[in-house]
Every structure is written in structure tokens, then in C-alpha cells.
Symmetry: none
Subunit: 127 residues, 4 copies
């Protein structure tokens, strides 16, 4: 399994388990994880990122409660088959809204010209 599926930043103020849940939400909404896809095991993720297994387990549990994942006995967690997995582009843009608003606010506070920020972001998105 690909334990590097997630990006984890232990120094972030955002709790690790929530970082994982939100990445799951986006990967499923974007279609990179489709219904029935298997997830890396708790131990793999924990080992790879040097975090506590309980933290990963908690993230998976919350994602399950949210209907994103399903627990298959003996096979681990897989992406749930709820039908509304892949979302339209407009819906996915909505999931990005909070981060966009934060970026816009910081740009204004830093008195940065819009085009400089847009150019920098465009270059990032190319690679």
C-alpha cells in the first residue's frame, strides 16, 4: 500500500488526525480515491510518518463515521461506495474556499500585488 498517500505536518497547529481526514475528503472528492480502493494500514501510515498509530486510527474512525470509508473485516479500510464520492468541479472549488480566503487575507496584509501572488501560485501548480 502507499503509505505516502498522506502529507503530515506534526508541527502544524492543525491536529494530525484532522489533517488526514481532510486529505481523505479531498482525495475522494477529486476522484483520486475511488469507491472500493484500499487504504494503507494504520501501521503503515504510522510507521512511515513516525506518528502514533492511535492518531491514524482516530482519523480512519472519524472518516468512517463521516461515511467516507468503510471497514471491511480482514481487509482493512476501503473507500465507501456511497455514490456521491466524486463531486463536480464547482463543489470541489467550494472545498478550497477557506484556504483561498486565508490566502487572500494574507496577501492583503502583506500588501502584495495580486499578479505577483498569482504568478507564484501558477508556477507551483505547473510542477
Amino acid at each position: 500500500m502507499d503509505a505516502s498517500l498522506f502529507t503530515v505536518q506534526p508541527a502544524s497547529p492543525e491536529p494530525i488526525y484532522r489533517q488526514i481526514v481532510e486529505q481523505l475528503r479531498r482525495l475522494i472528492a477529486g476522484g483520486q480515491l475511488g469507491a472500493g480502493d484500499a487504504l494503507p494500514s494504520v501501521r503503515e501510515v504510522a510507521g512511515f510518518h513516525a506518528i502514533n498509530p492511535m492518531t491514524v486510527s482516530r482519523a480512519y474512525g472519524l472518516a468512517e463515521a463521516e461515511g467516507l470509508l468503510e471497514r471491511l473485516r480482514g481487509r482493512g479500510m476501503v473507500v465507501a461506495a456511497t455514490g456521491r464520492n466524486v463531486q463536480t468541479q464547482a463543489q470541489r472549488l467550494t472545498l478550497l474556499e477557506p484556504s483561498l480566503l486565508m490566502l487572500a487575507r494574507q496577501t492583503r496584509e502583506l500588501e502584495l500585488p495580486a499578479d505577483a501572488v498569482l504568478r507564484r501560485l501558477a508556477r507551483m501548480l505547473e510542477s
Copy 2:
């Protein structure tokens, strides 16, 4: 003083005191707060945002330890005269880097096309 200088989101996972410190860092780097400018008093900020004065005080204290602010005994806090206050546009773009990286990662996770995101951000930055 202008107690609305800061934007505070109590629901954010980022601690309030750190939200304030980071806004201060950006406002000073961007030149919107210049050396010697007086800051709104702890009590004003606390009252305006309905948060505890100690939370604001903690932010001001950390900003002081960081060399961003100076305390004038009995008169309040002012922006420090450290010389490195206003930064070049390139330096300010660097302060935006973490948020840009986060946005780029989320865009990729959501499988969103770059131009849709850039257009949405551009519209936000216009207003």
C-alpha cells in the same frame, strides 16, 4: 486605536494568540504598521473581539520577544524600530510561501485545474 486591526477566528485550529502574532508579522513586513506606530491596547482588542485580555497580552508579549514590538512603560505597545521592518516584495512573498504550498497541495488533491483556481483567487484579490 483601531481594535479592528486584527482578524480573529476563535473557531480556527490555530490558537488566537498566534493568529495575532502572525498578522502582526505580516502587517509590519508589508509596511501597514511602521516603526513607532501605536497598537490598540490589550483591553481594546480583547473587548472588540470578545476574547480574554490575557490572550491578547500573550500575543503582544511574544511579538515583543520576537523584536516586532516594543513596550513603552505605562503607554502601551508600539512597533519596534529595528530597521528590518518593511521588507522587499520578495521577502514578503516568502512569508506567503507556506500558505501557497498548502493551497497547491489541496488543489492537486482535489484534482482541480490550475486555471479554475487561479481565476477564483484573482477575483477575490480584486475586491
Copy 3:
């Protein structure tokens, strides 16, 4: 852990949290605390000295911001591995300079002969 690592004087005009930070600075500079050493927990120190846990926490937090300590999530604070931990004798003498200057000034104000003061200090340092 050894909660008696610190000496705390609640009656001193120097804030308790700063007393702790400065002792940490000296204990690390002197090598009595080495990189990776675990510190007594906030609750232990607070209980031992009958002070509020938040006061200790504040000291640890400042020491962390200063790069003296590192936080291991869920496991407590340890001395940071920054490389500049143990300092030369000359550097450590520099940390003593402010206290020496204060003592010299007071000696002069009291019109005390140097040798009387030096003899008194020598006897103290023996024990």
C-alpha cells in the same frame, strides 16, 4: 524526573516563569542538561514548588521559542539538539556578566573593600 531541578523564589521581583527560563539557559550552557535530556513535567514542577502549572508551561513555551527545548508530542519536553548547547567557559562567563556588574556597583555604593567581598564570595563558592 527531578522536579527540584529549579530554584523558585516567589517573592523575587523577577517573574517566576523568567526565573525558570534563565535557569534553563544556564543549566544547558553549563552542560548539566544535555541534548535530549527529559525535563520534569509541567505538573511535577508546579506541584513541587506549589505554583500554577500554567506558570511553568509558560516558561517551557518561551524556552521552546528560544530554541532551548523541544516538545515531543505527548511525551513532554526535552533539551533541544541545536548544537550550540554546551558553551565554552568564556561564553558562560558572559552569561554571568550582568550579575557581576550589579554586584560591583553595589559594592562601590556600599564603599566596601574589594577583598572583603571577594573573601565572602570565595567562602560561598567552596560549599
Copy 4:
């Protein structure tokens, strides 16, 4: 009058008014200020050190309450004629005791050899 009689450190955690009172106590105990000697006016001291006149006034008031100073109408403050002004060397060494203890503790925390500290202090006391 000599407004430079006092040394004032606004950044010290010790309140300024107490810095002044304690210097007065030492200067009188050591005989550098004798009964009847006039003190610099509140305004002179405040102007010279760029501190608030109220702070100086408060120090003088406390020194008066302590019997160190006397207020002479129209002539300002003078050193009181209480007889026990100049103290024996042993008494004066006692006034130095707290600072000596602090220095000894810091020396131990820094793991500094006694002779290095004593030599540094001796050189300071010569000049």
C-alpha cells in the same frame, strides 16, 4: 545637583522606584551620602534618566517613610540625621548578601570554576 547619582535600568524586572530606594540605602550605609546632604530634585533625576517624575517622587517618598530621607520645606530632600546612617562593614556586607547568593547560585548552574569568577570580579572592582 548630581542627577547621575543613581543608576537606573528601565528594562530590569526590578521596579525603577525600588532600584532608587535600594541605591539610596546603600549610598547612605556606605557613607557616600551623609546626614544633611541634599538630593537631586525629582525633576532633575526624572529628566536625566528619561523616566516619569512620579516614579522618582515615589522612591523619595518611600525613602522618607523608611527614615532615610527628610523633606525640608523649600529645600527639597536631604539625607536624614538619624544617627544610625553609616553602618559597620559587617552590616554593609549583609546588605550585599542577597546579590552574593544569587551570583553563587548562577556560578554553580553554569558549572564555572570559582577562581575564574573571582578573578573576573576582582578586575571589575579595581577599576
